[in-house]
Symmetry: C2
Subunit: 352 residues, 2 copies
């Protein structure tokens, strides 16, 4: 696995953009996530057009036993990036909000940290000072909030936070900010014998907390950036797995294709991403024999969601976003570019 990025699932630029986002307060219990509509149209939130047609044609070709492109059920693997592909990633990854929100809790347990950087700055709430924190400090924040506890404790901490935290724009639980057309697509694929996976640059243990509830994707079908765990015995002599601040799998860029091999051992038939971090997964998927569908989501709807990447004419210098270079590769290699604006009738389930 490549270790190009030292901080799992973090992007410096997005971290800085994060400072516009208010910390989550204590509001209401989490609502039930949207489910795919069942009926004659399996993709009711998709606008009739080339992207929807490509999906329907692909599923027809791979599941019809009379088709030359038929794929046996065990090889029907579909992999989806999460941030920016299944739910909102802008202006900041949800997991990064979690890390900042956890700092006061961590400091409460270890009061001495309150006087030590970078925790002192984070607690000050001075957003400009936080924005100037060097990468080493951001890594310290991630290590302090994502590691050092046993895996079950971490899961409880994340679940509690998700139940209370609210996105500042929509004032809703982050888990409500999933894209309804994608929930429908996941459901449609599963109804046709596909095994759906999340392949995320985000933390594997983090996403596994809610993947089943939100996406109907079981924990073992979430591949993400993963740290090592250590098998230890607690005070009562009971075994526990402690999360270590040591990167085991950086599930970004080439790491996505490599992680797919490690965790699945099969090449996907369908992959869906939205950034350069998904490039190798999309290439690897498309390069297989037979029917293959690689799709990328273009964030071009500044009104209903956000517009960034090629839709904004940004130069090809951002890491982990949909660059012009990725757009060109998509066009050249026959990936399907999905426009939020033109291909999606509805974006969120809560916007009825």
């Amino acid at each position: 696995m490549s270790n190009n990025d030292s901080l799992p699932g973090f992007d410096r630029r997005t971290l800085l953009a994060a400072l516009a986002a208010a910390p989550a307060g204590l509001v209401l219990p989490v609502s039930t996530p949207a489910q795919a509509a069942e009926g004659s149209d399996p993709l009711p939130s998709w606008i009739d057009g080339p992207a929807r047609d490509a999906i329907l044609a692909f599923v027809r070709a791979t599941t019809d036993s009379g088709s030359a492109q038929f794929v046996p059920p065990e090889d029907r693997i579909a992999t989806f990036d999460q941030d920016g592909t299944l739910w909102v990633e802008h202006p900041i990854y949800t997991q990064v909000v979690y890390c900042f929100d956890r700092v006061p809790v961590v400091v409460k347990d270890k009061p001495k940290l309150a006087d030590i950087e970078p925790f002192k700055t984070v607690l000050s709430g001075d957003r400009e000072a936080i924005a100037r924190l060097p990468l080493e400090d951001l890594i310290k924040i991630a290590a302090a909030t994502l590691t050092g506890m046993d895996v079950d404790t971490f899961g409880h901490e994340v679940a509690e936070w998700l139940a209370k935290a609210r996105d500042p724009r929509w004032k809703r639980p982050y888990t409500d900010l999933t894209y309804l057309p994608q929930i429908e697509l996941l459901s449609f694929l599963r109804a046709n014998g596909f095994k759906t996976y999340i392949v995320t640059g985000g933390g594997q243990d983090f996403v596994r907390v809610y993947s089943d509830r939100v996406y109907r994707i079981p924990r073992e079908q979430v591949i993400g950036t993963a740290g090592a765990v250590s098998y230890e015995y607690d005070a009562e002599g009971q075994p526990e797995l402690i999360k270590d601040p040591k990167l085991l799998l950086n599930d970004n860029y080439a790491g996505k294709a490599e992680g797919i091999h490690l965790m699945i051992g099969r090449r996907p038939c369908l992959a869906f991403g939205n950034s350069t971090g998904d490039r190798e997964m999309l290439e690897y998927t498309k390069a297989g024999d037979g029917a293959r569908l690689s799709m990328i989501l273009l964030h071009d709807d500044g009104e209903r969601e956000y517009a960034y990447g090629p839709a904004q004419g940004l130069p090809d210098t951002r890491v982990g976003t949909f660059t012009q270079g990725l757009y060109d590769e998509a066009t050249k290699d026959g990936w399907i570019v999905v426009s939020m604006k033109n291909d999606w009738k509805r974006i969120f389930a809560f916007e009825g």
Copy 2:
């Protein structure tokens, strides 16, 4: 993950014992593996007794929705060691035979190796000299035969070898040497909603080649010792995953519990092993809440298979075998010790 063992899936002692085994010749095509019998008795090859009773009681308790120990289907995870638990491991791991058998092929591709140690010694066929090869040389043999190629090529090489190689005692394909009672148990568990996994110290990519055909366990449900792979482009610009001589997961000892967390993210309800390499997996499984079943196989049938471990009164000094210490822990912690001699009516499907 711990890196105590530098050579994935290899045990020095077993490697040395290996030299009694003849290299596999070119014989007949592989036969169809045995399947679990279907009928009123789900475990026809198990003798009526405490081990069989424990299995039946466990499955009843965890699948009856009226039971206090009911486990929802998504949490029904059962993990099985492979070597010595699902198939014969004595006197040598099958994968080690593969490595030695591959040396002539590797040398054919790179003739210069013929004059270089340890390949020169392996090619000489001098078993005593091979037995004296230091661990560094054995690692070189593993690296030369298990890495450096793309993952698809490796899979083809293993499949071809499995089709031709024969075990020297039974003169059968190695994949015939699976234990029929275990095939029945896997099938019985799946029929009751359990997801069955292999958790092996052997190579993950190696076992995945035949896991579906032999055990009806799909590739993605095989967790094993895994090396890193690198995403590269071939001469035609097509992406490929190259197997690197770099250990990513040593799936032995604590690594088994850690690997289960990485690949599944749930604590198993049932685990089955046969050696100290399985100790942490068995402990971790048994320490969970509710009904838990940890089982270990005692190789005490020198006539029908082999007798080693506590059955032979061996001292607790061997690594990766069933030691007296493990036996004592099993007794103390309520694991079920399964005797091949007393609990299994039949061992192999081919012995009708």
